[in-house]
Structures are given as C-alpha cells and as structure tokens.
C-alpha cells in the first residue's frame, strides 16, 4: 500500500488497548486524524479519553496496538521519542508551567534545549507567541503571579514554540474559574482557524459544536459514536451518548 505523505494521517491509532494493572481502561480504539483536523473527544470521567490522549505522545505506555504520529511509529526502536514529543505539543489541565522559570523562560526552554536555538532567537520567537496568546506584557512575570487563564495561555505558547505538527489538549479549561474559560478557548479557536491539527479532550460543548471538525464520544474504553458536530449533537442515536449529553446540558 503506497500513500503520499500529504494524504497519510497525522495521527493513526490502531486497536489501542491500555490496562492499569488488571483494569482495562481502553478496549480497542481505532482513530485516524488528518492534518489540520480539529477532533474533540467527549466522554464521562473515567471513560479513558485522557488516557488515549496521553498515549499519543507516550506519556502513557500502551498495552497493545500501535500509534503513529506524522508517520513515526511511537514504539519503533528507531523512533526518537523525544523528537516525536517535540512535534506533538501537550496542554495539561493543571497547566504544569515551570514555577522556577519566568514566563519567557517557560516558552524559550524548549527552543534553546531541544531546538538548539540561540537565546536571542528563542526570545524573539517567544515574545511573538506571547503576543499571539495576548500576554506580551507578562514575559518577565513568574507563573505564581498569573491567573489560571493566563497560565494556560502561557502553556499554549510554550507548546507552540516547538512549532508542533499537532497539539493535544487534556481538559485545558477544566481547572479554570468560569469567567477565565473564554480567553483560553479564544486562543484555541484562533489556532484552529490557522489550520493547527488539534485533539481536544474537553467538556466545553460550545467549543465542540463551533470549532470541531469531528466529535468523538468515548465511554467504557471504546468509541461509542463519532461524527460531525451538527449531526452528533442534534440527533444522537447512541443511548449512552444521549444520556451523557442530557447530563452535561442540564448543568
């Protein structure tokens, strides 16, 4: 089978299984994500949706199956996992900014240590990215001086600094006060319109409806339903999805 690289999926997950001890959390997931696609993963807590995301850059080791990112097989001994990770950015629920580094240093550290850029060049790139996420004046602040929304925007700038091929968002707004959610979603929407490939685990139905190209519902370790947001939300056929949407919308 020969496929041109452009047509090859950015992320290809085949028959993914993941066990924690005896408990099987992921029970066979196949998922293929094209370049530039925005995929939102929904599901009740404990459904395994974050685990899928964490397997994509090997923060979690899969039990069986295969994952390729931009053509690199994550479990091929030839693959430099550090390189693949630098190409697949991750944004965490708890931000995970480096508290001992300034905002600027949080963004430049990957550029200087992984991409081997000069300090001046790295700072130039970082300042542009901070401007993009709306925080040009926070370069010299430290993470503990920022609000949650600002922290998450710095975290997005930090992963953008590596010019990743894809960014994985693991419940990026779940730890935020409600009034701070919008500023983070706005940055994410901007990225989506610029053509960034994004995989987003979230509970933000508005974001899913408005921005996603495809919505996936995971429950009990398998994909229960997937489709474009219009049909997904308006006439869900799967009873579990109906139940889930009913609960989410009601509060």
């Amino acid at each position: 089978m020969t496929i041109k690289k452009d047509e090859a999926p950015m992320i290809e997950i085949r028959n993914l299984h993941k066990k924690f001890g005896e408990t099987e959390v992921i029970k066979g997931i196949d998922l293929s994500i094209r370049q530039g696609e925005v995929v939102v993963i929904l599901g009740p807590s404990g459904s395994g949706k974050s685990t899928v995301l964490r397997c994509i850059n090997r923060l979690e080791e899969l039990t069986s199956g295969s994952i390729t990112v931009d053509g690199y097989d994550l479990y091929d001994a030839q693959t430099d996992i550090n390189y693949v990770r630098s190409e697949a950015g991750m944004v965490f629920q708890q931000f995970n900014l480096f508290p001992h580094l300034s905002v600027l240093q949080n963004v430049t550290i990957g550029l200087t240590k992984v991409r081997r850029k000069s300090k001046a060049e790295a700072e130039g790139i970082a300042l542009k990215l901070l401007e993009k996420v709306g925080l040009p004046d926070k370069a010299n602040s430290y993470p503990d001086q920022l609000s949650g929304g600002q922290k998450q925007r710095v975290a997005i700038a930090r992963s953008l600094a590596m010019s990743p091929k894809v960014i994985l968002f693991d419940e990026p707004t779940s730890a935020l006060d409600p009034e701070l959610v919008g500023e983070v979603l706005d940055v994410m929407k901007k990225l989506a319109t610029e053509g960034m490939t994004m995989v987003v685990v979230t509970h933000e139905m508005g974001f899913a409806r408005e921005v996603a190209d495809r919505v996936i519902f995971i429950d009990q370790g398998v994909i229960q339903e997937e489709g474009d947001p219009a049909s997904f939300f308006t006439n869900p056929s799967n009873p579990r999805l109906k139940d889930f949407l009913g609960k989410v919308v009601s509060h």
């Binding site: 550090n82 990770r85 708890q94 995970n96 480096f98 001992h100 550290i109 990957g110 240590k113 992984v114």
Partner: protein, 223 residues
Amino acid sequence: MAFQFKSDVMWETLPLLTHGIELTIYLTVAGLLFGFIIGVTSGLARISRNPVLRSVSLVYIEIIRGTPMVVQALFLYFGVPLAAGVRISPITAGVITIAVNSGAYIAEIVRGAIESIDPGQAEAGRSIGLTRMQTMIHIIWPQAFKRMIPPLGNQFIISLKDTSLLTVIGVAELTRQGQEIVAVNFRSFEVYLTIACVYLCMTLSIAKVLRMYERKLSSRSSR
C-alpha cells in the same frame, strides 16, 4: 569542699582548643562535601530505572542507617585496614566515616525532595521534547533543591556534632582535645561547658547561613 565555678578557666581553655576546633571544622566540611556527592549519587540511584542501581543504593542506605556511627568509625579505622593491609590515618578514617554516614541520610533527603515534585512537571518537560536528563537538570532539580535545603541543614548540624564520636578512633578534634585538657586540670565543668558553647556557636552559624541562602533562592525565583 564545695564546688566553685571559675569562669576564667573557660577563657583560659578557649585558646587551647584552637586545633580541635579547626580539626572539627575540617572533618565536617570535608566529610559533608564527599557526603553530598555520595548522597546525590545514591539518591538518584534510588529512583533510577535500573533495578541494580536501585538495590545497591538501598542496601547501602539501610546498612548505614541501621548501624551506629561509632561502630562504623571503629570498623573503618581498625577493621578495614586489617583486612586490606593498608593503614589510614585517624583523620582520613574520620572524613570517610562522616562522608559515608551523612551520604546515606542525604540520599534519602535527595530522593524525598525529587519525589515531592509534581509528576506533571516531568510530563510537561518531556512533552516539549526534553530528554530525561534535561528534564532532571532544568526542571526537577532546581525545584527539588530548594526543598532539600532545610533537611540538608539539619543533616549538616547532625554531622558536625557526630564528629565528636570520632574520639573513639583517636582523632584530636574538639571533644578529644577537651578530654585531654580535663586530664590535666580536672576542671571538667568549665572545660565541657566551653566545648558545648563552641559547638553551639558552630551549629547556630550553619542554621543562620542556610536560612539566608534559602531566602535568597526563594526571592530569586518568585519575584
């Protein structure tokens, strides 16, 4: 004959202790320097992915923590040379004892501080492509080191006081020198009181310096 406290004996004793004080400081500084290197190495070995390194360091730590330092000093000074056929000076044996002994405790301090850092920090480091080593050097260690300072200060103070146990192998440090002075003038009350004051000055200085250092570190990182 009633006991009479003579404060002038204390002032007369102090200059006679100079060599002992110097030696105590030397044993502490040299011992802790090597102890820190041993401690960081075995602390990192304790959390390494390599099971052999993990068990070697665990065995070392358990043996040292489970035996008295006096016995360790006697074994090193009298026992090991007998088996190995080389004599070492009491001072060398003393430095090694302090180093090996404090190293085990420092290893646990290092391990504890590193493990106390939120795993999300390492994940964030790895997710931008830093290697395990880079993540340790640039992300985990700077944060963990700050948390190590108070327990390290504690260990420095303990090791300083433990140098007095080296009298058993005849190291002429502060306590030993005091014993020799008492053997001549029989003023045990004044002499040991003087020695206690000298130890107290040294331990308080360590505490003070570390507090200043800690304050300097925290002001640099978060403002």
